[in-house]
Symmetry: D2
Subunit: 422 residues, 4 copies
């Protein structure tokens, strides 16, 4: 019976051991008790858990109460050393190991989900925009970059990231082609020829009517002109198409870093990002750019979500996402017909936009919020948001991103019809 007890514990811990030893994105996810045990073991290795330690630093992971420590899953020392996110911290053996496991696991996940030609990865404890700032800051320090060529996207965060790094944004205008808003490739080519000490930031995922930037063409041009190229792949991991485009961009030209949100792709709480690169020095430089020791929480959350999902469940979620996207399309086409509106014809991996011409689109957006529909984006003709000055429609965007449920799509579109037809 004791042997049977030991067998049970061994089976339970086998995936945990596997994570710590192999550091890969597992095929099969771990259960919550397994995750909890794993983090307990790791956080127990930090010196603040050592009952015999004499602690005489100015920062010793002392915490106000057990509840306060629990809010950090007991990783009270945070991660990194002064100005080096991935450097082992002698006081925090457990947190340091955890960060390394997180980096490896996230890289393995990104590789298995499409970017098999990336070589290094880093889970950062900050948002996608801040991670872009860290990468840009690293390029400024190491390569003397001063300007960032950035095809227009009406999104504040990346702009803030560029600005925080003290770089000047060189905006590339967009053009309207049929329904789609795309970057102006001619202007882009001119710009990379003209701009000194520059890097390029392109975007794979944004709201319709804006389409993805042509990362393969850009990578080739960047290679030709020896210009660093950063891809903001905010929520592109879920899309096999987008991942395939990025993979060929890496193969065909120059890509320095790909930045993605952990929450938008891997169902973690908001707050962390994953930076991967085909070149390991880019990741080292980026890790060297965070100024201080950081909160472990976003990294733990990202690692926990990756391990909780596992590759198999992720593939199921991708499958469901595609099904729900098709459902969203059907529902929204149906509404368009009834309302005498049109669904915009735009390539987008998770979203559709329906015109709201001659309707008060802001009012409809507000009503949807009150009707407890979260996430639709209501843009009035001419407003900031279309990534162009003169888009000819008002419209509402709805997403069927990874993790969405069938009932979300059905309820949201029902309510859209109800509110738009009042």
């Amino acid at each position: 019976m004791a042997r049977r007890g030991r067998t049970t514990i061994d089976s339970l811990l086998a995936p945990v051991r596997d994570v710590l030893n192999r550091r890969i994105f597992p095929d099969r996810g771990l259960t919550d008790p397994q995750l909890e045990l794993m983090f307990q073991i790791l956080s127990s290795m930090d010196t603040d858990k050592d009952p015999e330690a004499a602690r005489v630093g100015e920062r010793e992971a002392r915490v106000a109460s057990p509840y306060v420590a629990s809010l950090a899953a007991d990783f009270n020392h945070g991660i990194g050393r002064s100005g080096q996110l991935s450097a082992p911290q002698p006081k925090a053996a457990g947190a340091s190991l955890m960060q390394q496991v997180a980096n490896s696991t996230a890289l393995d996940a990104i590789r298995k989900l499409g970017l098999s030609n990336t070589k290094a990865g880093l889970v950062t404890p900050v948002s996608t925009g801040m991670s872009i700032a860290l990468v840009m800051g690293a390029l400024r320090r190491e390569l003397g970059i001063k300007n960032v060529i950035y095809p227009r996207i009406d999104h504040t965060s990346p702009k803030r990231g560029i600005a925080l790094a003290g770089l000047d944004e060189v905006q590339i205008p967009t053009v309207i082609e049929d329904d789609a808003v795309r970057m102006d490739l001619g202007e882009f080519e001119n710009s990379i020829k003209r701009t000194k000490a520059c890097a390029v930031l392109a975007t794979t995922t944004f709201f319709p009517p804006r389409e993805s930037d042509p990362v393969k063409q850009i990578a080739r041009l960047c290679s030709d002109h020896d210009i660093p190229f950063i891809i903001n792949n905010a929520y592109g991991v879920q899309s096999q198409d987008i991942m395939a485009q990025i993979r060929s961009a890496i193969d065909a030209g120059r890509v320095d870093a790909i930045v993605q949100s952990s929450d938008k792709n891997f169902l973690t709480p908001v707050g962390g990002s994953i930076v991967v690169s085909p070149k390991s020095e880019i990741i080292e430089w980026t890790s060297d750019t965070y100024a201080g020791r950081a909160s472990a929480a976003p990294v733990i959350q990202t690692l926990a979500a990756l391990l909780s999902l596992g590759h198999e469940r992720y593939k199921e979620l991708q499958q469901q996402q595609l099904e729900n996207l098709a459902l969203l399309k059907d529902n929204i086409l149906n509404i368009a017909e009834k309302l005498n509106q049109r669904v915009l014809e735009i390539e987008n991996p998770v979203a559709f936009a329906i015109t709201m011409d001659n309707l008060d689109v802001h009012e409809i957006g507000a009503r949807l919020y009150n009707a407890r529909v979260t996430g639709p984006r209501a843009v009035k003709k001419g407003d900031f948001g279309s990534s162009t000055e003169n888009y000819p429609h008002s419209y509402i965007v709805m997403n069927a991103a990874i993790g969405v449920r069938k009932e979300d799509v059905d309820t949201a579109t029902d309510k859209l019809y109800k509110e738009a037809s009042r």
Copy 2:
């Protein structure tokens, strides 16, 4: 009996209500169950908890499992809106309220602990060095700052913060006066006259033999020359002396922001900071500089620690810190005498340094680590760390910072004697 049950709940929740309504640093700390309940109520206000919500955004706080959500205390939406840390996020009423409560409570704590002349505060989800970067980035954007005058401190994080913001560091050298290493005031005055588009960053707390910068004099000079002045007050909140100096600096001249670590002062897990200012626009600008939505975890942890401690227990901890500092002094003087070494005569609120001349100070440091003493700093004559090129001693620094226990001091000094006298 039902009435009695209600009375009990009311008494239990009274401090929680008080926190949410008055948003002050309470005299008496909250218990862990009170804190847990408060955060549960707050996180329950976010839309991802709404069982009726239809969620069709690209980011909807979906989480991989209950354990993953628990790692964020269920604040799955993070904090802030795209590029505005303190902006209310419509999907996250609870997190937005929490962030506001955190800002107010932290400001009130800083005011009550000495800086009664500050007017606005912000709890940031990043380290002190990164928070310096955010402030500097804000000054660059709003005031066109290009250079940072920075009296030499041998510490990587703030330098990284300045660099990340794309600013050039203008280092002011130090001078040795008796045992102390101080900034060279003459050089400083020259520098602020000469440097265009600059801000000043000074430091209140660092390791001996470096002493605090004279913030009052600097504030006067900054006022005279209309130069923004940032104080890195990393672990100065615990010291009534240092807080008094900063308060008079604000009264006497120009101070734009004071940045402090939440973990070093308030016993939270590593990862957040508190920025306060006598001018509310500085705080707004800083809040506008974080590029994206951020992890709620460091803010929750900081708020929880502030509320767990309360003003009364904080004062007790300050008192104990002074007692343990006196104990550390006695112990270390005693060791110095037995070893024929000397305790350096340096003003420092939490630390003492003892010379290790003619001893292998690195070896002693390594032995202390193996003997499970964490935090001592072993610096060899001439090495980086003394904030000067030619300090005439090797030495070991030990701290009795807030939260230290008597047994830490006694064990650490016993082991120091044992290892240094081998």
Copy 3:
């Protein structure tokens, strides 16, 4: 936005309020966070949570540490008053309310799942056997019962329950009819005529080859002879057939109490039971029989499981149980054919028995245990377990009880074939 936050909280708490106000088995189950919040609110009403209370009793729910309290979900006062399980305890308003909600909810569940003609219910903090002892003790005290007529079941717990109550067991023998082992009705009729001061205990659920006792006939006889009748319905709640038989027994004759396991029927941890009755005085008497204040834990667990499931999910689980039972039958018939054995033809709501004639059934049982199959019952011809002296087969019993998964059935039967055919 604040209104939206309040809406979210209201939606979240609506089912919790419903539970506390209506005290019914909900159609739709509560989520774990809802359950946790509900228990926190309830346990917060107990006086040990009152920060202003002055506590000068000999028992004041003081606990060694927060973890110790968490093991009781903070219901540190337990339930009941000295010798009355359901009596309100003035120090423990919350626990008292919780116990009442548990009683009502459990009764409502039992009524909705078949026994609509029961009127009162009690969740006890002890096993089914101990609950039988409590009922029997009550009947002894109130009605002067001395003997218990008990059709033979080879199960120790109920016998121990009868003995603990100081009553003498009058065992009714069984007869073998085809494959089935049934109570001897003739002997039973003789016995109730002959035995003074007696009650009857009958059983609805046991392992094949024993079949259920004919509760309707017994109830009629008990009514005719004015004898109290207790039904041990250990895991019969899951079976609509058995519940229908008990309902008609109540309608047709005399039934005093029906005792069921909470874990075997409602997926709670082992330890509590549910006693229901068509007569409320029986429940009061039983509640008066527990000698002291009891652990709240088994009651909390039972209530939590009932609320977590809800009626709809329970019906789904019942449906799945029937499907898995059919699967078990198919698999086991298949094995029987291959092994030249036979599946016994026995009425049983959850189990099948396959003969193991001329095989070493104990050895096969041991191998199954080592092969990590839990729960099969291996009985050798002639051993205790068949509820008769001379059952003509060795056999193995397997169950597909509520909560079983398809893979359990498939794996267990695969391994059975493997181990039995070696």
Copy 4:
């Protein structure tokens, strides 16, 4: 650094290993994280945690949700086998080991706290009164006991325990000697001579004016007459005097079992008891009397509290109890003088009684409850509670039992004065 991490974990787990290997009451208590880890390891050994197990029993520790399981600290299988509390349960290796550790640790604690001449122990999952029933039931089954000689105590639970076991209570009257109410020794001696097939139940701790029974004299008489003797030592473990009396009773005569509350002595949530004996067969018999598998929760809670406290902190708590008892005496003497009442002169290890003659003692008791004083006992002259028919005073009892705080005593006595002098 990895070595250092391992050292930290080893130090953290050393006391846990010690508990599992040595199974003693440790000198120094375990921390909450250590306890949590220990229980996690143990509960992980149960088969319901085995991801490979195929589960085909009628009871397989399936649980409705993770929260429901957490309410049992994941010991979903409960403890014991059908009718044997301490028997190893093959499905539950971890729970079985836990129960054995609990029994050993509790016995060791009782031995170290005074009863060094006991030899076996059992932590039961039921109240003191129910544990008395289990012991009595065992004596009935094994020794044919029919009657229990019981010196009068006005407390319902033990009477219910005797009745549940189907035994007849033979009550010994009390006598009033000065202020004290004591058992009538002469009547007792007559009774044990006269009564057939009897056991004796005596009491060490009750409210003033009732004093402890003379256990040493009783033990001698029981030895002389070969009568089993059970001591209800409800909250006597905290008192060194009472423990010394019981120890000499064991040495001087016959004692079969000593039953104590876990919550009243060891700061656990209400619900478990500890039975110890100088004879191991008594413990075995008692363990054989619980009818079924039981909830693990009360046992876990008791073990956790014992380990959390440790011997050193327990001795400190005993010391504080004595100090607070002295404080209670001072305060209450002072009040008595001011109110012209008298403190009754009674030997009691934790309580004092003050007369309330010519006052409405029930009204004062009710007011104290509303003033949030819990635990005082208000008895009107002649009412049930004095353990005699004709006690000449009304009075209020207050306790300073183990775990009481100075502020409890001061607040309670202040309010007593306030309410009694209105």
